[in-house]
Subunit: 301 residues, 2 copies
């Protein structure tokens, strides 16, 4: 079976305008997870996911009381891997039961830590928005299309530590949930791993994992069905196919903004240039139809 | 290789009198994890652990701000499995490197959910203390030997959902971290798993997991080297060996209090009566020497 990585965007858990209650997140997860359960008959699957709103909430909560010791962002990312991994797993459990393949299909969430470079320029220039968006400015926050949000450093992933474990699980046909929130960012000091104050981009982490476990397909599920040129302008053009050389050209032309489509395009370029057979960018609703070739932007060498 | 479950008590992470900073927890973990790394040459190992102070802190934090949506205890337990699993894993990583067995040894944290009975009487009589202890009474808190603490229901574990995954990982010689904080408590409603407001006893969950994966040895690591009769009295007598029938007799006589040694004795009884070859109760410092027969209380059929 081919190995497929499905990278779930934030809207797989919290839709625009929602508060992000536990019930909403479980309800929203059903759309991608139902498709993934069906796809698990044909593919070896790794699910990755973001954690922007969730990790931001944990940060807000620990600032809300002086009674409890504060943890660094790496620990909070680990907490969101537990929180979201559990929600994905129990939804997957139910969907596999509906398909009567729950007994043969094993699945696991892999707590994932990811090495970053302490000299990564991102540590001096935080760019990753996390947590809720506010209509009024706050100290240390920046203006994003959704409102004022906290930004944290987002260094590039160098190495996914758990790649050997994940590769072994793929050989045993597990469905694996990994690289939650882009992975727990760590730097290496001698033999010691040290968590750092950062949040890694989950699409770049997914591409790096794909390279390390030699995955075949990377599908990035987001809130648009297609990658577009001149996005949201009168001359918007949806792309059904995109070669790596075209992708690089459009990226250089500034067609894909840094905060949204930019890292996704960078991720698919790096995945295909390393080992990937193909990559797809599409909406959460179209994961399955996109794999059948009937939706999404297909990126190839 | 025999399968050994090491159930780590709260003092593996936070020692008496400590605040529980991240640095303290990492430092404390070194004692048990160093021994476990060495034991992994001889045994297939499952590490389980508590989460009382950690889950209590998350609960306090979410009460500290109204800005963020509150999650049920099941989700918070999932968060602690991520948080503590990550700390155990990265300590284990380093200790395996010191022994030069890091390349061959694979390890994983398994997010674990555990079925409980919605009719369990524990839901009407909360007994499990979590979070910090206070010198003054607070609403909904009860007096414990450490001070006033919040108590939550602690229903009995019926089934560890991830037992098949864990069994498979054992066959592949993974070191597995599982049943963190006793597992995420869920009840089954049709095909749906529903998280509930409870914290399961981690020793009882460890015994149940041992039964389901047919483990050989259950070692409960706590803050005393031996189980004792007349504990902390002038006629205290440390037990080096204890048969199941003696254990039951002493339990009935009230030798082992409900909040501390009681559930540990119940856990080892149920483990040995189901499948276990032997069980050991000892201190965090004596995990390795106890397995060599030089420390701890050894419980047998």
């Amino acid at each position: 079976m081919k190995t497929l990585i499905v990278a779930l965007g934030g809207n797989a858990l919290i839709r625009f305008g929602e508060e992000g209650t536990t019930e909403e997140q479980f309800r929203n997860l059903r759309t991608p997870i139902k498709q993934i359960a069906e796809l698990s008959k044909e593919y070896n699957i790794i699910i990755t996911h973001g954690n922007g709103p969730q990790v931001g909430n944990l940060l807000l909560q620990q600032e809300g009381t002086s009674e409890v010791i504060k943890r660094h962002l790496g620990i909070l990312v680990a907490e969101t891997q537990g929180q979201i991994g559990y929600m994905i797993e129990s939804t997957l459990d139910e969907e596999l039961m509906h398909l009567n393949i729950d007994v043969e299909k094993l699945f696991l969430t892999v707590l994932t830590y990811v090495q970053v470079d302490p000299e990564d320029p991102a540590f001096k220039h935080p760019t990753k928005p996390i947590g809720p968006a506010y209509s009024e400015p706050r100290s240390g926050f920046v203006k994003t299309p959704k409102g004022w949000r906290r930004v944290v450093p987002s260094p590039k992933p160098i190495k996914i530590y758990q790649w050997r474990e994940i590769k072994k699980l793929m050989q045993e046909n597990f469905i694996v949930i990994a690289c939650g929130g882009g992975g727990i960012p760590v730097i290496k000091e001698g033999k010691r791993l040290q968590g750092v104050e950062a949040v890694i981009d989950k699409d770049l982490a997914s591409a790096k994992l794909g390279e390390q476990v030699e995955a075949d397909i990377l599908l990035i599920a987001t809130d648009v069905e297609y990658v577009a040129l001149n996005y949201k302008k009168s001359n918007q053009r949806n792309l059904h196919k995109l070669s790596i050389s075209e992708a690089k050209k459009y990226l250089k032309e500034g067609q894909f903004p840094a905060g949204s489509m930019g890292p996704k395009i960078e991720a698919v370029i790096s995945f295909i240039e390393s080992c990937g057979e193909r990559a797809i960018i599409t909406s959460i609703e179209n994961i399955k139809t996109a794999l059948e070739g009937k939706a999404g932007t297909h990126i190839y060498k």
